[in-house]
Every structure is written in C-alpha cells, then in structure tokens.
Symmetry: C2
Amino acid sequence: MELADLRARTDTVLNDFLAAKARTAAACRWPDEVTGALRDFLFAGGKRIRPLLCVLGWHAAGGQGSPPAPVLATAASLEMFHTFALIHDDIMDGSDIRRGQPTVHQALAARYTARHGAHAADRLGAGAAVLIGDLALAWSDELLHTAGLSDAQLADVLPLLDAMRTEVMYGQYLDLTAAGLPTGDLELAMAIARYKTAKYSVERPLHIGAALAAGSARLRADLSAYALPVGEAFQLRDDLLGAFGAPEITGKPALDDIRQGKHTALLALAWRHATPAQQHQMNALLSDPDMNLEGALIIRSILIATGARDTVESMITARRTQAEQALARAGLPPAVATALRELATTATARAA
Amino acid sequence: MELADLRARTDTVLNDFLAAKARTAAACRWPDEVTGALRDFLFAGGKRIRPLLCVLGWHAAGGQGSPPAPVLATAASLEMFHTFALIHDDIMDGSDIRRGQPTVHQALAARYTARHGAHAADRLGAGAAVLIGDLALAWSDELLHTAGLSDAQLADVLPLLDAMRTEVMYGQYLDLTAAGLPTGDLELAMAIARYKTAKYSVERPLHIGAALAAGSARLRADLSAYALPVGEAFQLRDDLLGAFGAPEITGKPALDDIRQGKHTALLALAWRHATPAQQHQMNALLSDPDMNLEGALIIRSILIATGARDTVESMITARRTQAEQALARAGLPPAVATALRELATTATARAA
C-alpha cells in the first residue's frame, strides 16, 4: 500500500470535485474566491490522516488491492469534512496561521481590506469563512452520496458518519467553552481529547472504512482498542507541540494553545501540582485573551516546573504501548497492522 | 389540507429528534445547552414556510391525503437546515434579536458573561453559535437520511438538496460581501434575492416535495414559474419591512437591514435615482457599521424621496401577478393551487 500514491489519488478526487464546483460558480457568475479559498487551504498541506485510516479500515475488513473509486471518494469526503472543521475551528480560536499560511478568515479579511476598510474586513473575513466552511461541510456530504456506494454500504456508513459529526462538534464545544478557565479537571481534558481527536480523527475513519467492506462488530471493537489510545496520544502530543513546538515545523505560531488558554491535560496536570502562587499566575494569564509572549513563557515554565510536561510524555508512552498491544491481539492483515503501527509511532513521536 | 395541523406534525418530528439528541448528550455528559438553544430557537416562532411548500410540492405531484412520515421528516429536515442558516446568518450580520428574542449567539454570550467576562463571552457566544449551527446542518442531513425514504426518492431528492444548499450559501456570500458598499447594481441585488430567497425558500422546497412523489420535469418547471417571482416578491417585501417595518411585528429591530448596509433592490434603486449629495450621504452612512438611528432615518428618507420604495412596491405587485398567471397555466390540483395562491398573497402583503 503506497501512502504517497493514496494521498495523490485522494487529492485528485478533491481537486476534480472543486474544479466542477468552480465551473458551476463561473456559469452562475458566483465569486470564484470561494472554491479558490478551499483549494488554497486543502493543498497548502495536511497529513490526510483520516483518508488514510479510512482506506486502512477498508483493507482491515478484507478490501483487497488498490481501493476502488467509491472508497476513495468516501476517504476524500472525510478530508472535505475536516477542511470544514479546521476553517471553523480557526475562526473560533482566532488563529491567524495554519499550515504555515494565513487562515481562511485572515486571507479573506486581507482580500476585503482595500474595499471595506480594516474594521469591516475582519468581520467580513470571519463571515465569509463561516460560509466557506459551511459549503465544505455540505460538499463533504455531496462527495459521499455521489461516491457510488451501494445502498448496503451507505446504510452501514451513514450512522457512523452521523456519530462522528455529532461527537466532534460536541468535542469542539467542550474545547471552546472550557478555554480560559484553568482547573485541575483532567477528566474533562481527556473527554475533549477523546471526542475532538481520538474518535473523530482515528476511530471513526477506521470504522467507516471497515463498514465499506462490511467489517464485523468484532473488527470494529478491535479497531477502537487501537484507535482510542493512539488518538489520545496524538492529542497529548499536539498539546505538547502547542506549548513547546517549533513554529517553523508545526506551521502554527509558538505558544498558540497557551495563548488561547486551551483546557488540555497538560494544563490540568500543571494546575493540580501548581503552588497557590502558580495557580494565581495561571488564572491571571490564561483568562487574558491578549496574553503576551512573556506571559506565555511564564505558563510554559509552570508546565515544566510542575512536572506536567513529563507526566504527559509518560501518558503518551503508555497509550502507545496500549495501542501496540491491541494491534498484537487484533490479528489484522499484516500490511494493515504494519501501517497502523507506523502511524502510532509517527502520530505520537511527531514534531509537527 | 390543514396548515396548523401540518405545522404541529412537523414540529413534533423536530421536537422528538431533538429530545433523542438531548438524551444522547446526557448519556455522554455533553452540555445540554446545545439542544436547549436549538429548541428555544426553533419553537420561539418561524413560519415553517419551507416544510409547508415541501408538502405542497408532494401534493402537486400527486401525493394524496395526509403526508406520510417520510414526507414529514423531509419537510422537518428543511426546517432544521433553515435553523442552521438563520443561526449563522445572525452571527455574520451581528444581529441581536430574532423572533422577538435574543439571537442564539447573543443568548449564549449572556450565558457565559458571568464565568468568562463580557469581552470573552462575546467571542465564546459567537463560536458556540457557529458550532450549534454546524450541528443543525449535520442534523438536517440525519433527519433526511433517517426519514425512511425509498432509494428512488433519495436519488431524486439529493441532487435538489445539494443544489439548494450550494445556491443559498453563495447567495449569502454575495449578500455578505456586497453589504456596506452602496451601488446601483440592481442585477446583483436581484441575484442575491433569487439565490438567497426565491430558490432556497420557495422553488427548491417545492421541487424536493414534488420529487418525493416522482413529479415530472414539466411539473418542476411549472412550480419554478410560480416560485421564482413569489420568492423575489417575498424578498422585496422583506427589504421594505427591514427598512420600514414595525419591530413589534417583525420581531427584528427597526432599520436593521439599513444599519447593516444590505445591498437590496431597494437600496440599488435609491442609489440610481439619488442626487450626488444623497449618494454622498449613502456612502458615508452605509459604510459605517455603527450607523446611529439618525443616520438610518436619513437613509430611510432617501429611500422614499428617490421613489425607490414605490418602485419596489410595484415590483412586488408585478411578480405577484406573474406568479398568479403561472399558477393559472399550471393546472395543479385545486387545493394546491389555492394554498399557493394564498401563500403568494401572505408572502407579498405580509407585515412581518
């Protein structure tokens, strides 16, 4: 199974779909910046983890050889959905940079500044990005129901897709509303990681792929036993990168998560072991949306001093071990097991 | 065909669906304010025009008697989609009041003010409302594909639904990006009215309903000949109400559209017949997001002095006549024709 090849084929599906949408827009004299912004964002980068896992799930359930068009289109629809999720996420978090480029709302705001002035352009950019995200969500459905799936495949996939969409949106909701209020609530932080990342980015794509090859409930459970610890480890690594990662590698500004006061396991653990004086600092700094670099560096030092950083590293190791044991038990096709093992490594040891 | 009865049955479908989602949320320990906000918004009002038109389309194509559950669920899914559209629309327009109540983002902001402070609460309210709108969009799909439609019905409905979603989002995009820059571009204003309102609110719901009873291409064309002029007239009336309507009847603040500098036919016509001095005032006032009441009243006076208000009234009358002639030609079932004729009257003569 060639990873680069799979990525190229998924991107071709996405590119062809957007090209057709661009032709429709031209015919209706609709602004071309809508499909343009989606294309710019999609092809600026992204790991295509969800399409890859979807195809791996299909192989795990017995899908042989090169994935057929309906499987690829389903994989592509997961990436289009993810595009929607990231565009809206960046608006809600007020993020300026993603994939080393201006986020969609920032790029659109810049586009409108000349005609509308800076103040109006920011509102316009956010509004236009909300709409472009909405279109990406609607188009992820269109990609799925025009994928050429059989009625049986659709009947198996749709409930999983409904669950995935509801889970990730509640996960985002918890993530959004918990930010800025530091507490030691590790359970909440791990629930956010589970719904926002582990289930959405790892478990459900595998499940959906397996459903395309009529995978059994047993297989689904085996995939979950691997996916949930890997997904949690992936998020825990993301939390560490958000606080300690190098911007030139992550493609995001340094300390972004800290500035946004995200309620991560890293922060919850730090809070639990912080002195009253440190808790006081965390309260003051993390509730300030305009926290400066100095403040972020103070938080970073508390994350280290309290041992939270080390604890999160060991949580990642434990989950990676757990996932490898689950893989060993599962008895998946060797090629799939190898790919999932590699993915567990890169996802938990990655620097970006 | 009992209108009140149809509305009650659609609302029961929506209420039962949200109740099931609330049970899932409780079981997962997800915040109950998500389904709560949707229920509050849905049942605070709304004309349920799209569900009604969907059922009328089904009757027009030969659907007999009381609409069966799959037709009602499809009608309900259109209302859930509309809930998504209004929630995001109010965020983009910065509207505070809808259906005589605080908009969803305002209600959520108020909810968070105590814990997060006013500044953070506004951002949080907007972000949470974006997510709740996203869920309403995803759930409108779930309502449709769990409606119990036959594969043939789904195959006919899905392309129409895809078209509807793409059209309304581009219409909103044009509406958003044209605001604040007064011009005499009447074509643009009418394109916005067509995509944002006429096709989305009238034509597509009729088409989707007709597709549920395997309506012919000929019927679809007949319905369009009625729907497009009625939908345009509906939007033109909405524009007049946005500038001249009584807030206690419209449920929206007076002069809301004017304050937002919406590029309506009303405004385009005023611009075309405005003196240079009036155009100068329009430029200065309509580009100001913080236009005060005095400024809005000046714009209102220009809408009257230029004759734009009268011209829009006559455009409404012309479209209503056109729609009635189309109905007379169409030879629809008498009960359907009567209901559509009444709808054309209320939609174009309404005060709210």
